[in-house]
Subunit: 286 residues, 2 copies
């Protein structure tokens, strides 16, 4: 495995870790300050959310690269199906295309897909996954033309009803195998997969070409708020070294992206301190 | 599949559905009234929690059978490992034995095991599962002597940190195969497995002898309280008919046990009404 104790150039900030500056969370740092703070600490990359970019994708992408980092990815597509998706298929497709355009403007190589929950009234994970696969397959030519890869992110099963009917690496790999397109892969997020004892086998099955992202945080033992109570690496129960070994044994050598939603803890702290702890934990426990 | 529209003798009440009469929930019904209400509605069985039984196991078991029903099971063992388990191994074993004794007193054929979360400081699901397997294997002779089968219940992965490092049917089946004892099997609960697209294959792999229980409720699309916000069958997104087909295709023909923790909805209703709705939903949507 790569030795991060002496090198954290693989470390990438997902800006969600600093609280998004929304809904009363976060310290109000603008994009430029986040970029500078990551550069100062020797990070290799940054992942933005669309809300932060607006119509400045090209400008922000250039600024990141001028600072010596990469735009590693963009969060994210609209929910494609389920109760939180836009009301019509046309609106889903329009927003899906808009998210690809923004990733292309940033020169972000990867756009994350969070697929949305079980289709209302269907009572069927399987049927919902079929519709997701149809929408993704239909959109892949547009993504390929834009030079953007799409990463299916399986979420923790607790989100199956509303945010993602894709809840296991196995199902994500199956969908990739069925669609079989060079611009489609998966994102592996510790929060969503830490419990899955089949992770190593599933990642080996799909191989390095299809692993488009590796997201870090920790699962707190006493998790009750499943949306906004993620832990800093080392503070929870996930076997971070074993998960990274599974990802790297499957051939992944890309960025390690820290994504921590934490309304009551990390989002209340000084962002500079959060970044310092993040670097230290990445080097010591990941 | 069995046709429940004309026969609900397989229907079993898990008394948790009526709110336990604890912590301000439930209508205060004593055990006797619960038994009578189930009998009046033609249910075939009842599953108790230890807190309701005290030292009256034999008396209550006899009363259930005199009413024409069966004591289908008992909830449950102590947590065996993790942050919520009793502090010492000896205390775990003592309470494990006490729960077996109570099941035997009730003449309940099955005792449910909720294994407990990842062992503190271990950061390892795998090591925690090994310790669970050791404890279960050590206890099986005692259970066999008492005539009680032990049902490993995999919980939803959201509970992996604190309540159950056993979070998939696959892992539960693996543990049963490894221990290979006639008194060990699994319980399949809709709340915990509804998302699992490998359910059918895993149940076929283990076969009917090892399926010791089938628990019903529904997963509400907008689940946020993961402990006390379960849905009544038909109100959520789970594919109840597909899950039952998977269970029955694997050969299970036992009771169907309704277990709904619902602090803000069903526990606030009149228990008689809850039972009436439960019977109606069981016949129409399960």
């Amino acid at each position: 495995m790569r030795d991060f104790s002496n090198d954290h150039s693989a470390l990438t900030l997902n800006t969600a870790t600093l609280g998004h500056n929304l809904d009363g969370y976060g310290a109000g740092w603008p994009v430029e300050r986040m970029i500078d703070a990551c550069t100062e600490r020797g990070l290799g990359g940054i992942v933005f959310w669309r809300r932060e970019i607006g119509n400045r994708a090209v400008e922000i992408g250039e600024r990141v690269r001028a600072s010596g980092m990469q735009v590693v990815g963009l969060c994210r597509t609209p929910f494609l199906v389920g109760p939180l998706a836009p009301p019509t298929r046309q609106q889903v497709m329009d927003d899906f295309h808009a998210s690809i355009d923004m990733a292309a403007g940033l020169q972000a190589p990867v756009l994350t897909i969070v697929v949305g929950g079980v289709i209302e009234g269907s009572h069927s994970m399987t049927d919902s996954l079929k519709t997701v696969a149809d929408i993704v397959a239909e959109t892949l030519p547009y993504a390929a033309k834009a030079g953007v890869k799409l990463a299916l992110e399986p979420l923790n099963p607790v989100y199956g009803g509303n945010r993602s009917c894709l809840v296991s690496v196995r199902d994500a790999v199956d969908m990739c195998e069925a669609i079989d397109d060079d611009h489609l892969g998966i994102a592996v997020d510790v929060y969503h997969v830490w419990w899955d004892t089949s992770l190593e086998a599933e990642l080996k099955r799909t191989g390095p070409k299809r692993i488009l992202g590796y997201h870090l945080c920790d699962w707190l033992a006493d998790t009750t708020d499943v949306l906004l109570d993620r832990g800093m690496m080392g503070d929870g129960v996930a076997d971070l070294k074993a998960i990274r070994k599974a990802v790297e044994d499957a051939g992944y050598v890309g960025p390690c992206e820290v994504e921590i939603f934490s309304a009551n803890d990390w989002w209340k702290r000084d962002p500079g301190n959060v970044l310092d702890v993040m670097v230290e934990r990445f080097r010591s426990v990941c």
